[in-house]
């Protein structure tokens, strides 16, 4: 069974640009979660999508947005990039009450 896949692995953007990160959940998993892992801050919850709807949002500005497609894959968009957005962005999927299964992440570097 394929795990959670994320693309790209690495992304380098200039301040002010937009970044798009993609995630494919495990087959059969309908919930997708996005987390930001910045150095020294641990995992910070960004967004939760389930059945195509945004179910919950963490304490991040509106320039962090996303969507979930009919096949349950998901996209995270970060607009007007700032230097402090540099982090590892992790996607996780989940089915029912099980724990998260994480992807390997996208390393976003803003210069």
């Amino acid at each position: 069974e394929a795990g959670v896949t994320q693309s790209p692995t690495h992304l380098i953007k200039t301040r002010g640009q937009q970044a798009t990160l993609r995630c494919s959940p495990i087959s059969g998993h309908t919930s997708v979660y996005w987390y930001q892992q910045a150095l020294g801050l641990g995992l910070q919850f960004l967004l939760w999508y389930d059945e195509g709807e945004e179910r919950n949002r963490g304490n991040f500005p509106p320039r962090f947005s996303g969507r979930q497609f009919p096949n349950y894959s998901s996209e995270l968009n970060v607009n007007a990039l700032e230097l402090e957005d540099s982090a590892l962005y992790l996607c996780a999927s989940r089915k029912g009450g099980s724990g998260y299964t994480f992807g390997s992440g996208t390393r976003l570097t803003v210069v």
């Binding site: 987390y35 641990g42 995992l43 939760w48 919950n56 724990g99 299964t101």
Partner: protein, 109 residues
Amino acid sequence: QKEVEQDPGPLSVPEGAIVSLNCTYSNSAFQYFMWYRQYSRKGPELLMYTYSSGNKEDGRFTAQVDKSSKYISLFIRDSQPSDSATYLCAQNTGNQFYFGTGTSLTVIP
């Protein structure tokens, strides 16, 4: 106060040592806890989950929850160099998980 607090370490132990990793939590309403292990350049992987108080054992790993002190612990027996990683505790509140900042562990051969 953060929902889940974790000592970031780093922690360095000799091979074969018993390792104790600890977290505290503030919200007693949710009693579902997890431990994740994260190797460098990888996403976290679920190690163990526990519900409410007591111990749960899986091989060399034991997870413990102490509701009275709001303390969760992970013990690793006979630690191996392959256990070198960052360990994250997490609390499941239903809508989302709250993670500790992670403890970096190095097991020296």
